[in-house]
């Protein structure tokens, strides 16, 4: 176990982690500036998870939220376990070979989204009584008003909101890795996890984007159904 954790960390990992955390925060702020309905604040975490392993990803995620809380906005602090599991799951998925083709990357993004929704539920419920200070809480509040239990309301909001964000995050991270020269990937602990298996063509990317757009439309449809019913 300890050996497995240790093999995630070489000097390049330790150097990449601070840069990845800064990437998380800087991109998170760019996205706020562009007024897009996503966060995209874990691209760096996913990069570390994929290149170095699940434990390095988990550490990056947790520290990222802690530093975000300490240096930028203290309200980010209590959510560090969510970021921890985002990094861990992304790393595990990459270990199982789910970061080599576009459609697999979409699956990874989806798995990360489900994890994020599940892990953030107890924090939202116990710390904030279900309704947090984020915009998506309006959906939770609505569900609770219509008689849904608190845990179900928080969980279904998470399932609706997270997939778009996390699939986009995973796809951007994959695009970044495809763009890096091979020489720069070789120094990290797990370069073999991103050896693209011939399927990274432009066509595949368009298909993957199409699938994501369909998923988004489906989520929007479900959302309207829930809010309408």
């Amino acid at each position: 176990m300890l050996e497995k954790i240790k093999n995630n960390f070489n000097t390049q990992t330790w150097v990449l982690i601070p840069i990845a955390i800064a990437i998380n925060i800087a991109i998170g702020q760019i996205v706020v500036l562009l007024k897009l309905p996503v966060y995209l604040d874990s691209i760096g975490t996913v990069l570390v998870a994929v290149l170095c392993g699940p434990w390095a990803g988990a550490l990056t995620g947790a520290l990222s939220n802690i530093i975000w809380g300490l240096a930028v906005d203290p309200n980010a602090l209590p959510w560090w376990p969510v970021a921890f599991f985002i990094g861990y799951v992304a790393g595990r998925m990459a270990q199982w070979g789910f970061f080599k083709e576009w459609w697999k990357v979409v699956v990874t993004g989806f798995a990360v989204a489900l994890t994020a929704a599940i892990v953030s539920t107890p924090i939202a419920v116990y710390l904030y009584g279900g309704i947090t200070a984020s915009g998506s809480s309006f959906i939770t509040a609505y569900l609770m008003q219509t008689g849904t239990g608190m845990v179900q309301a928080v969980l279904s909001t998470g399932f609706l909101v997270e997939p778009v964000d996390k699939i986009t995050t995973a796809m951007l991270a994959f695009a970044i890795i495809l763009g890096l020269p091979k020489r720069m990937i070789g120094g990290y602990p797990k370069p073999e996890q991103v050896e693209v298996s011939g399927g990274a063509s432009k066509n595949q990317m368009y298909i993957a984007i199409g699938v994501v757009v369909l998923l988004v439309l489906f989520a929007a449809f479900m959302l309207r159904n829930i809010l309408g019913g």
Binding site: A26, I43, A71, G129
Partner: protein, 259 residues
């Protein structure tokens, strides 16, 4: 060279002179007590009787007040309003607005929850205002935290402002070349890649060089390192830490016992 990013205010006060670990234990204890104590008004009293006086004692009250009103109060008030309106508890409706109703129970519930979050965030703010990050890290490293963690935290605090400045430069450069960052949704979504790409690739290029540089300075050496600054840890600090721990246990016990 950019300024290192931190809230820290250099003062010479009792709070500043406390051992960093004592301060960390202190704020964690205040947070745990305000979340676990069974008495309704605990978080309010923790804020009024502990956090605000401590910030005055530390000579950082103006900065504390500024951060609290600028960062914490908006989030806490939003939380309060959301919870007061949307918590479907209680019968005794005291205010009605279309389908939204505020009951006495939901108002009390919202007030306590918002206060707890306020205490949590303001306690951390107090800690950051009175503790220098590298002081905390070298104290924790001396107590057995792996030095790599200290490297990650401290260098993130250095890299972050540089990265934010770089992001601003990239945004300005791409705008001057005609990138649309303000109009329709699809234009804005499309401008993510030209902004994120240069930022990420530009930073990842540095990784290998940095790794070689810190390797050359004995980063992975197993020998224990000496420190230029000795951080004092008088027995007074140890007593405070044990007292705080006892208070937390008492609060949790009271919570379990009364539940």
């Amino acid at each position: 060279m950019h300024e290192r990013l931190s809230f820290h205010m250099k003062r010479n006060s009792v709070i500043h002179r406390l051992n960093p670990l004592t301060k960390l234990v202190l704020i964690l204890a205040l947070i745990l007590i305000s979340f676990t104590s069974p008495w309704y008004w605990t978080p309010h009293f923790v804020l009024l009787l502990a956090i605000i006086p401590l910030s005055a004692l530390g000579g950082v009250f103006p900065e504390f007040f500024k951060t609290a009103t600028r960062l914490i109060l908006p989030a806490a008030s939003f939380l309060f309003l959301m919870q007061a309106f949307f918590q479907p508890i209680g019968e005794d409706v005291i205010f009605k607005f279309y389908f939204l109703d505020i009951t006495q129970e939901s108002l009390m519930f919202a007030f306590r929850n918002a206060m707890r979050v306020f205490v949590m965030v303001s306690a951390f703010t107090l800690f950051l205002l009175t503790t220098h990050p590298s002081e905390l890290m070298s104290d924790l490293t001396r107590r057995g935290l792996p030095p790599q963690f200290a490297y990650v935290i401290i260098s993130t605090l250095q890299i972050l402002p540089q990265m934010q400045a770089k992001a601003q430069t990239i945004i300005a450069a791409q705008r001057s070349r005609g990138l649309d960052t303000e109009s329709t949704f699809f234009k804005r979504a499309g401008s993510v890649v030209p902004l994120v790409g240069p930022l990420v690739f530009g930073s990842l290029v540095e990784v290998e060089e940095r790794a070689i540089a810190i390797e050359a300075r004995g980063f992975t050496s197993k020998h224990s390192k000496t420190s230029l600054h000795e951080i004092p840890d008088p027995s007074f600090d140890k007593v405070i830490r044990w007292v705080l721990l006892a208070l937390v246990i008492l609060s949790i016990a009271a919570n379990l016992w009364l539940a």
